[in-house]
């Protein structure tokens, strides 16, 4: 500590510069973390807030687009309901549509078709729940941000179907970045099939559903799939089947990994340059009998002080910025856990970078201290 603190005070300009770089990286980390969590919320909060434990899709449907591709006969619901451990099984319909309200507000919706008496029926926070009328819809709390409220009538562009907004849910319910709208299964089936007013509706339309939503703790999914001819995913696995989810989260993870690497390299490069500049004095100290461990420890303490202070400042600024961003409609949510982990990683990898750099250079020959002629 003796030398470490005095060296930092002496080279405070350089340390401040380096500290700002680390702080900026920390800010970026916090914002990225907020964006990750926000995107996850935006992508799958509609699924997270459903009580279903798993979904049974069409057999062998492509895993990353199951919600949009899958179409099965509702008889699978009864098969699933009979499986061991299944408390309830209910038909579930999922479709992304474009709509426009009677106030000319454009809104994209993820329509969740459900049966009113099933466990999927939503609880509203404002207005009324679904009463059974075919043209009712209940929207995510976030729809208000789009300017849609109870009493509005939404026209589905694809079919011209008209939906009355009767209630609003308590929290954010979004799926694939658009607001979720719960509506009666029959209405959903008509919209999905593209039925327009006055069309003759074939019977099979009212048999089509996206998936069977299953509720039950110890369900043998493989056995159920075999009996019902479906392909199941747990609700967590099904996040990957929501539009863009996998691509977004893996991109953000990649960016985070790069940030860690950058921070380790930048801190390593800084300590390389710093230590190379200190070479003459290091060789003097070695001649005077300082152990390698002493010199390395000294640099590690320096890098720890640098990283910890800079990360603290950066995270602080990041949280302040995040609070501002969080109040906008941007998909952004700050959670302590991911930020703490990211900060720990940042500091740890920075330390690794510094240590690798310093250990290499500190081995300078103490002989070079003798005589200016060498």
């Amino acid at each position: 500590m003796f030398l470490a603190l005095r060296e930092i005070a002496f080279a405070r300009g350089r340390f401040a510069l380096m500290g700002s770089v680390v702080a900026l990286i920390a800010i970026l980390m916090v914002l990225l973390s907020g964006l990750s969590v926000g995107l996850v919320n935006d992508g799958v909060s509609g699924l997270q807030r459903m009580s279903a434990t798993s979904f049974a899709f069409q057999k062998d449907v492509s895993k990353d687009a199951a919600f949009s591709r899958s179409l099965i006969d509702r008889e699978a619901v009864d098969v699933w309901a009979r499986q061991d451990g299944v408390e309830e099984a209910a038909p579930f319909g999922n479709a992304l549509v474009n709509g426009k309200t009677d106030h000319d507000v454009a809104i994209d919706l993820a329509l969740f078709g459900i049966e009113l008496d099933s466990f999927l029926a939503p609880r509203v926070a404002e207005g009324a729940g679904l009463s059974g009328a075919p043209d009712e819809v209940v929207l995510s709390a976030t729809a208000a941000e789009e300017g849609v409220k109870v009493g509005d009538v939404i026209t589905v562009e694809q079919t011209g179907a008209q939906l009355r907004v009767v209630g609003v849910l308590a929290d954010q319910h979004t799926f694939g970045h658009v607001d979720v709208g719960y509506l009666p299964l029959r209405t959903w089936q008509e919209i999905r099939a593209g039925v327009r007013e006055g069309d003759q509706v074939p019977d099979r339309v009212y048999r089509e559903i996206t998936a069977v939503a299953v509720l039950g703790e110890d369900v043998d999914l493989a056995a159920g799939d075999k009996a019902a001819g479906t392909t199941s995913m747990t609700t967590k696995q099904s996040y990957g089947a929501s539009p863009g989810y996998t691509a977004e989260t893996s991109t953000l993870q990649l960016i985070q990994v790069f940030l860690y690497a950058i921070s380790a390299l930048v801190v390593g490069a800084f300590f390389t340059v710093l230590t190379i500049q200190r070479r003459p004095e290091i060789s003097v100290m070695r001649a005077m009998g300082a152990k390698t461990a002493y010199l390395v420890r000294d640099s590690i303490v320096q890098s720890l002080i640098l990283l910890a202070l800079a990360a603290a400042v950066g995270v602080g600024i990041g949280l302040a910025l995040g609070a501002v961003i969080g109040s906008t409609p941007m998909p952004f949510a700050l959670e302590a856990g991911p930020i703490a982990v990211a900060t720990a990683f940042l500091v740890a990898l920075g330390l690794v970078g510094a240590t690798v750099a310093v250990v290499r250079i500190v081995r300078v020959d103490p002989l070079t201290a003798l005589g200016g002629n060498r």
Partner: protein, 226 residues
């Protein structure tokens, strides 16, 4: 004469090997007693710094024996040699080589942070002894060459070494300051019973020394009477 603090017997040092090899030290014999100042003079490249490096456990001789306070250096591992340098040997370098970040008083405290010293001298008192107490808070870049060299000497003495190895301490100093610095070295050496070897080009400071050896082509000559 008391028991010598430092003995070199038949010490040779060869740099490189084969045709390229350079004999820096050629069968050197030297013993230095506590309280004695031995000067080494000689042309550039004669092997003077090499002698200090070998005596100071910075480099192992190719052949011959170095004995420090009764301990033979041959066969000691790196950690033991580092320990010996820290506790028994003091170095004063040509350009003082102080640590830029440290104030004068901290330069003296630094060696004491490397490990436990048996009977360290008080940095403040030592700074007074070398006449630098009034500039205790100055950093090297705010000090003159002579002042830096005084602090360099004090730094080498703070762990109370038995051997002091000094390489051209006056190379960067004018006449008067050279006299002052070498006088200081001689005074401290005698007052504290240190065995000092000083390499120098400066013949005007030799009268402070007890013996003067000339070194030519790695060979140490017999002491010239002063």
């Amino acid at each position: 004469m008391t028991e010598p603090a430092l003995v070199l017997e038949e010490v040779s040092l060869v740099h490189g090997d084969g045709d390229e090899s350079i004999t820096a030290l050629d069968h050197v014999d030297l013993a230095v007693a506590p309280g004695e100042v031995v000067a080494i003079v000689g042309p550039s490249g004669a092997g003077k710094s090499s002698l200090l490096a070998v005596a100071g456990a910075l480099i192992a001789p190719t052949s011959g024996a170095v004995t420090l306070g009764g301990t033979a250096l041959a066969g000691l591992n790196r950690a033991r040699l580092t320990e010996l340098r820290r506790t028994r040997i003091g170095f004063v370098f040509q350009t003082s080589n102080l640590i830029p970040a440290l104030t004068a008083i901290d330069q003296l405290r630094l060696p004491l942070t490397f490990g436990k010293a048996e009977a360290p001298r008080d940095p403040q008192e030592l700074l007074e002894a070398v006449g630098m107490a009034h500039k205790a808070k100055r950093r090297p870049d705010q000090l003159s060459g002579g002042e830096r060299q005084r602090i360099g000497i004090a730094r080498a003495l703070v762990t109370r070494p038995s051997v002091l190895l000094v390489d051209e301490p006056t190379a960067a100093l004018d006449r008067q300051r050279s006299q002052d610095v070498v006088a200081l070295l001689a005074r401290e050496t005698r007052a504290h019973g240190v065995a000092t070897i000083m390499v120098t080009h400066d013949h005007d400071v030799l009268h402070h020394c007890d013996r003067v050896h000339e070194m030519i082509d790695g060979k140490l000559g017999v002491p010239a009477p002063r």
